[in-house]
């Protein structure tokens, strides 16, 4: 095997071939086990569900490939969902404040994460774990623990409409993914993100402002949670304080099986999209097979650990 050629191929495609194979094999298996799986309606269900945590997984990809971690993604999604809905439903502000409010709430939560992490005293793992509690608590406080129901049509369009026959959330995911791919793979910000994850000292020595880079990465991650929160609100017509519960598990798993290196230095948005589809197919398939939700959580957890395990085995063999 010529390592350089193999690498060129993979890096040009920005994906990992194994994950594509896993997606195909998994889909084929589900199709055989359940006749409903391949129905148009069900395929829509899959991509619709994937759209919400797919956006989160993009945030996870940026942060993890910089050797960071954002455990607060799911909670910030819930907070964003509630903030957007509260502004428009409870305070009766114009409809677009659902968008502004969700994105702003997410970005601010990310900024708080980034601010504390860049002080350098508390590791990202702890800061974002703390934010997981804080954001969820805040969402419950703001909403009084109840869903905020009844959003205007303009917002519902973002979750429930099907322009050109395709659900709007899928369009949103596609646009976010394309822009994110451009940023991660082709801009200086992306190069610096991977370099920071690869070797922080090298990034600093070559003149990259690593504090600023980290700050922006956590804000970006928060923004993604905000977008996902908005999609969630629009889909279920509710600002839901429990929205996104355990979604960080899905998002991080999707990023890792898509080829993002848990220890930083490597990550691709296209890979993450395949990872998100794998998680979507897995969840949907288990639903169709009437596997209880409890077991589904277990399955996702197992996939996460197995993916990191295989990744490490691969890296060992290589070096």
């Amino acid at each position: 095997m010529n390592p350089s050629e193999e690498f060129v191929l993979l890096s040009r495609l920005h994906i990992r071939l194994e994950s594509l194979i896993v997606l195909i094999v998994l889909s084929a298996t589900m199709a055989m086990l359940s006749p409903v799986f391949l129905s148009v309606n069900n395929l829509f269900n899959i991509i619709l569900a994937t759209a919400t945590f797919g956006v989160l997984a993009i945030g996870a990809t940026f942060v993890i490939s910089s050797a960071g971690l954002d455990l607060s993604l799911g909670s910030v999604l819930g907070l964003s969902s509630v903030v957007g809905a509260a502004l428009v439903v409870t305070l009766e502000w114009p409809w677009y404040f659902a968008i502004i409010g969700s994105l702003f709430a997410g970005t601010m939560a990310g900024a708080v994460n980034g601010f504390i992490i860049t002080r350098g005293l508390v590791p990202a793992f702890i800061v974002t774990l703390g934010m997981l509690g804080i954001a969820r608590g805040l969402a419950l406080i703001i909403s009084g623990g109840r869903g905020i129901y009844g959003l205007p049509n303009e917002i519902l369009f973002l979750g429930q409409a099907r322009p050109l026959g395709v659900p709007t959330p899928v369009f949103i995911l596609a646009i976010v993914a394309i822009i994110s791919h451009y940023i991660l793979a082709h801009t200086r910000f992306g190069h610096h993100t991977l370099a920071l994850g690869d070797n922080e000292a090298a990034a600093k020595a070559t003149g990259i402002d690593i504090s600023r880079q980290r700050m922006l990465l956590y804000m970006l991650s928060g923004l993604m949670a905000g977008i996902a929160g908005l999609i969630f609100t629009a889909r279920v017509n509710t600002g839901d304080p429990t929205a996104g519960l355990n979604y960080e598990l899905l998002a991080i798993t999707a990023a890792i099986i898509g080829g993002t290196n848990l220890f930083g230095g490597r990550g691709s948005i296209l890979g993450t999209m395949i990872g998100a589809l794998i998680m979507g197919v897995l969840q949907n398939g288990l639903n169709l097979l009437a596997v209880q939700a409890y077991y589904q959580q277990m399955a996702i957890g197992i996939v996460l650990i197995a993916a990191v395990w295989l990744d490490q085995v691969r890296d060992r063999r290589r070096s």
């Binding site: 390592p3 690498f7 801009t187 991977l194 370099a195 070797n199 090298a202 003149g207 990259i208």
Partner: protein, 247 residues
């Protein structure tokens, strides 16, 4: 006029005083050897020059401007480059990206999308730099972590030389190299001097120091204890300064 002037540099890590008031001048296109025992503070002093470490006291002037509080990127922009002892490479990124790390040229994609890193330009220029250094490398797209120690060294050198530096600091550049490759580095230092670049060379191999440098500075426990002209000294004297047996 001196290219680089350090005055009263002090730096502590916790309770350890690593630099205890360093005064030193480096002239344009001068090759200065910096020697000293393990832990003498050589790397710390050099990282203070590049801005990776911030000083507790003292100031650094470069081309008659105070650069003491500038960020590492700004100092690189003014022409200070360093080849770090640990090389400071990003192992999963390819050779070309490592050479251009922190200085990626951009263009507009399709004439309008901003901030697109010009990978073709990076690859072409990185390749020509590697060729100029006469290095054998399988492909410019190999992740640096898969290269041999000597090849990684070449990448680090290429990164330091790509942007027309005025001062290049080399921290143990020959430690990982085979004899033939060491010759190459010494020749390179010669060429750099001829094209007007000042070099600070750190090495424990006094043979290399004597072969390459006109001036030899000895650091001991965070102080400059000797500043010698090469032709006026010999290895025994330098060694005795290093181990503290002199004066």
């Amino acid at each position: 006029m001196a290219l680089l002037t350090m005055s009263g540099l002090k730096k502590s890590f916790g309770s350890i005083e690593v630099l205890r008031g360093i005064d030193l001048e480096i002239n344009p296109s001068e090759v200065v050897g910096l020697v000293g025992d393990n832990g003498a503070g050589k790397s710390t002093l050099m990282k203070s020059i590049t801005g990776v470490y911030s000083l507790d006291e003292g100031n650094i002037r470069f081309e008659d401007q105070n650069i003491t509080s500038l960020a590492p990127g700004d100092r690189r922009a003014r022409g200070i480059e360093m080849i770090y002892q640990d090389l400071a490479l990003a192992p999963q990124q390819d050779i070309a990206n490592n050479i251009f790390l922190g200085r990626e040229p951009t263009k507009k994609l399709w004439g309008f999308l901003p901030g697109f890193v010009d990978k073709n330009k990076i690859d072409a220029e990185a390749l020509s730099m590697i060729d100029r250094l006469g290095a054998q490398i399988p492909s410019i797209h190999v992740p640096v972590g898969r290269l041999s120690g000597g090849q990684q060294q070449t990448v680090a050198i290429a990164r330091a030389l790509t942007f027309d530096p005025k001062l290049v600091i080399m921290d143990e550049p020959t430690a990982a190299l085979a004899v033939r490759e060491v010759e190459g580095v010494l020749k390179l230092i010669d060429q750099m001097q001829n094209s007007g670049i000042a070099v600070i060379l750190i090495s424990h191999r006094l043979n290399d120091i004597f072969a390459a440098c006109q001036r030899i500075v000895v650091l001991r426990r965070g102080s400059v204890i000797a500043d010698l002209q090469q032709e006026a000294t010999d290895m025994n004297e330098v060694v005795s300064y290093i181990v503290g047996a002199h004066g």
